[in-house]
């Protein structure tokens, strides 16, 4: 099947408006006759479910958590971008569009990104109307801050908990519809397959995580808002339950999987402390507004620090290497995430890492304390030359900005970040790749839609900070609810979809077969054992820097590990009960397939772009080297085994933006 991205004709700025004017609509009376399944209740799924119900569709929403409010969008810290230009600093829809395409290293679809920038302003209006308490200035208007890779302040925020506040907004809209009976909510349910009837997605198979019951649910369309697959690395900033299963099952049922190798490694996370580690904790990118990143200039200082003989605060200013400011003077500490992460890895690989494992750099607020402190002292008419006083005043300012992050750091590391610089290291955070969708957010399976992080659409090879929340809500509130009507307009006379059909039988049978195998396997190792091993392969060979040789061996190792998993995994208990090990096993089984496709995709992409860095393709200064011949989306079609996946290319055409060297110098 040839890929048709269905991008509307016409000038870029008019595409979305024209498209909305021309697509089919379902009249309100007929919407009542149509069922839609939404899997996942994060920013994308939650907002989509609520909006579809508001429009009049009958919605069934599913989440594996005990409440829709706990979807992992809740953990997003820093903010949400919108081209409001409230600061009057030259922002515009075009500039947000431009920054996003450039930030994505020219590997995203122009039309989608422009639409995203266009609806971004509506998101803020909508959220404020819902009662989302964004940060405000003393005049009562909304405040903004800056994020990496841009030259304007367009990020709206609610302290370090923006994702939480936005998700609770979507959750409240969802609650309203649940209360009205327009959304039927299924908590603690995991989707384990998509059911395809006559080539169209018509339902899903779920497992009730409390009782173990395998259930059939039918609808006229299925929407996946199931998030990213960063947990394929085992250690990531994702929640423990975040998984690829829904997206992967869709892939196995015919949806193409796009750009799986595009992974965002976030530069500011708390370093790994030991083998017991279960997850990594992010320190918001917003910290780079005020924190400066450095390592010692001299190896002898590094060694003294590692040996505990020297404290970082004792190292003189001239003996520090503020390597981001040195290498990227224009953007300094606020370079995009991929650039910052690689730079940290470069320093640590060169032997300048500042903790025992050699994998940490400093994020230092000392300068910010003094800068803010001087300001406050000046305003209050206090002595600006009293360093101790200025520092104290400055710390108070920083505390109001990032207090919760500093507290989080102290609880985990047991060091006071007000007194000593934070230690940070990159960690897997977000996946730009995902299920391939067209302009309508429909996958290659008719009636199957994919939104939010689960799809591949808007961020190219690297996502800018504060853009994930924007995309999730844009898809869920403002894009999918309209585009899905175009498809559902043909279904007004279909009537309810029966679940007692051979297609549902077959899907349920295959789910049951897998579960029975796992339960009865009685192997020797736990699920986590395999997950950790998969994570090690991924991190070492498909991590921040990749090369052909490693990728080839990763493909083999993952395939072997997968075979071993099915032979040797041990899942205690039964299916008919709350069984966390079984739920994990089903998720890891899919990660073990995805991981292989991930490596295969990375091997194919013989260039460096955004989060994908191939050691063979770099400039003499060590920057990413993009190659014209790879200006396409790789969309993979499932053919039985990950290694047999067939590549389809969607060429990326840039008509409104000049593809340039992506420079932050």
């Amino acid at each position: 099947m040839a890929l048709d991205s269905k991008i509307p004709k016409g000038p870029l700025a008019d595409k979305w408006t024209n498209h909305k004017n021309n697509i089919n609509l379902v009249n309100p009376a007929n919407k009542r006759l149509i069922d839609v399944i939404v899997v996942g209740t994060g920013l994308a799924g939650g907002s989509a479910a609520a909006t579809l119900a508001e429009l009049g569709y009958n919605v069934k929403a599913f989440c594996f958590q005990d409440s829709p409010r706990r979807a992992h969008s809740i953990a997003a810290q820093g903010g949400i971008n919108a081209a409001k230009n409230y600061q009057g600093d030259g922002d515009s829809t075009y500039r947000l569009f431009y920054d996003t395409v450039k930030g994505g290293d020219y590997r995203s679809r122009e039309a989608n990104v422009y639409r995203l920038a266009e609806v971004s302003a509506n998101i803020i209006d909508q959220c404020v109307a819902q009662g989302v308490p964004f940060a405000r200035e003393y005049g009562g208007l909304l405040d903004n801050r800056s994020f990496g890779g841009v030259l304007v302040s367009r990020t709206f925020y609610a302290a370090g908990q923006t994702g939480q506040q936005l998700l609770l907004g979507a959750y409240s809209a969802l609650n309203r519809q649940i209360g009205r009976g327009k959304v039927k909510m299924y908590n603690r349910h995991e989707m384990l397959d998509v059911v395809i009837v006559d080539g169209k997605a018509r339902g899903i198979i779920t497992r009730n995580l409390v009782t173990g019951e395998i259930e059939r649910h039918s609808a006229h369309a299925v929407v996946l808002g199931t998030g990213g697959y960063g947990n394929v690395f085992f250690l990531s900033t994702n929640a423990m339950g975040s998984n690829v299963t829904a997206a992967w099952k869709a892939h196995k049922r015919g949806a193409y999987f796009a750009n799986p190798c595009y992974t965002q490694i976030h530069p500011t996370c708390i370093p790994v402390s030991g083998d017991h580690q279960s997850k990594l904790t992010l320190m918001s990118e917003s910290l780079r507004n005020d924190g400066r990143i450095w390592v010692p200039k001299h190896k002898k200082d590094v060694e003294a620090i590692r040996a505990g003989k020297l404290r970082p605060t004792q190292i003189a200013e001239e003996d520090r290497d503020y390597y981001l400011e040195r290498r990227y003077p224009a953007f300094g500490n606020l370079v995009p995430r991929d650039v910052a992460s690689r730079a940290a890895k470069e320093r640590c690989d060169a032997g300048y890492g500042v903790n025992a494992t050699g994998e940490a750099v400093y994020l230092d607020f000392a300068a910010a304390f003094m800068r803010y402190g001087k300001e406050v002292a000046h305003v209050r008419g206090l002595d600006e030359n009293d360093d101790a006083l200025v520092k104290k005043l400055g710390q108070e300012v920083v505390k109001t900005k990032y207090g919760n992050l500093f507290q989080m750091y102290e609880k985990i590391v047991d060091q006071n970040p007000y007194e000593t610089p934070m230690m940070i290291y990159p960690a897997v955070h977000y996946t730009m790749g995902g299920v391939w969708v067209d302009y309508n957010l429909q996958t290659t399976v008719p009636g199957l839609y994919c939104i939010g992080e689960a799809n591949f659409s808007d961020h190219g090879a690297n996502r800018l900070g504060a853009s994930a929340l924007m995309q999730g809500l844009a898809d869920g509130y403002f894009v999918l609810p309209y585009t899905i009507g175009d498809y559902l307009a043909d279904d007004i006379r279909t009537g309810p979809i029966a679940t007692d059909t051979p297609e549902f039988d077959e899907a349920e049978k295959s789910v049951r077969k897998n579960i029975e195998h796992l339960i009865n396997n009685n192997g020797t190792h736990s699920v986590d054992h395999f997950h950790k091993r998969l994570g090690k392969i991924m991190w070492n060979k498909c991590g921040m820097a990749r090369n052909a040789e490693d990728l080839k061996s990763a493909i083999n190792e993952i395939a072997e590990l997968r075979a071993e998993f099915w032979k040797d995994v041990r899942v205690p208990g039964t299916n008919d009960e709350f069984n966390e090990e079984l739920a994990k096993a089903l998720r890891v089984a899919d990660f073990l397939e995805l991981g292989e496709l991930f490596a295969k995709d990375a091997l194919l992409r013989e260039e460096s772009a955004g989060g994908h860095f191939r050691e063979e393709y770099q400039t003499p200064e060590g920057e990413a080297m993009r190659r014209k011949e790879f200006q396409f989306v790789s969309a993979w079609e499932y053919k039985g085994e990950p290694k047999d996946a067939v590549l389809h290319k969607e060429d990326l055409v840039y008509e409104n933006i000049e593809v340039k060297e992506r420079s932050y110098k």
Partner: protein, 248 residues
């Protein structure tokens, strides 16, 4: 560190349940409490025993999924954190640690340490929202300036993660801190005024129907709340409720 864990084991909602002792050794002080339970579970799986079921997800203190009543306190002995942020350095070698589920009639146990907190969801269904449809045509976000102090206070109420520690800590299993926080978030904003009367009446009605106890102002909830939600929110809810009752 070597520790003794006393853990509540209960096979399912209908099982009677009991405390079971588990010795655990070589616990690193840098582990989080849940990582320590991971290690225990790994060893139980190895011994072909059933691992201990507990709720958890984000493991960074924001999703509100983790619970646990540790040594007689919700989220354990530390302050301002959830169980997933509790670290083993808070304990000493040789300690006995008692681990129980959050207890309340409105939070029935599903298995071991996992409880059903859907009562909180149902309270929100009753009124925890502002009735505004998605349109893209609402007024500009800056059309109504909001006093910064009010906006900040509203945010502080909205920080609630819905974990249920307030209910678990309250000697009466009252949910008033949770409901008060939600009522306050909207009561402090101009957008929330239109439906203020119905909101507080409906949410309190649902709260009462769920079988939570009554608040006697002991303040335990505020102390144990991982997000430091203030008792002022309960006072505000009481005011809002009185106002609404007199009006309605």
């Amino acid at each position: 560190m070597n520790l003794t864990l006393k853990i509540w084991r209960q096979k399912n909602a209908n099982d009677k349940g009991k405390m079971v002792d588990y010795p655990i050794s070589d616990v690193s002080p840098d582990m989080s409490f849940l990582e320590m339970l991971d290690v225990l579970n790994e060893s139980l799986v190895q011994k072909n025993e059933e691992p201990v079921a507990f709720d958890h997800d984000c493991r960074e203190g924001i999703c509100g999924m983790c619970s646990l009543y540790i040594n007689g306190e919700a989220h354990g002995p530390d302050r301002g954190i959830t169980t997933c942020q509790l670290h083993m350095r808070m304990f000493k070698d040789g300690d006995t640690i008692t681990i129980e589920p959050f207890r309340a009639t409105a939070f029935p146990v599903i298995k071991d340490l996992v409880v059903d907190r859907s009562a909180f969801d149902r309270i929100q269904h009753a009124g925890g929202f502002i009735s505004v449809n998605t349109s893209g045509n609402t007024i500009d976000a800056n059309a109504i300036p909001i006093n910064k102090h009010d906006a900040d206070e509203s945010f502080e109420a909205a920080m609630c993660i819905g974990c249920g520690a307030c209910v678990a800590s309250c000697k009466n299993s009252s949910a008033m801190l949770f409901v008060g926080a939600k009522v306050s978030q909207f009561a402090l904003l101009p957008q929330g005024q239109v439906e203020a009367t119905d909101r507080v009446l409906n949410m309190v009605k649902q709260m009462d129907e769920e079988g939570f106890g009554n608040c006697t102002n002991t303040g335990a909830c505020e102390v144990e709340c991982p997000k430091g939600i203030s008792l002022e929110n309960i006072a505000r809810m009481n005011r809002e409720y009185l106002k609404a009752s007199l009006k309605g």
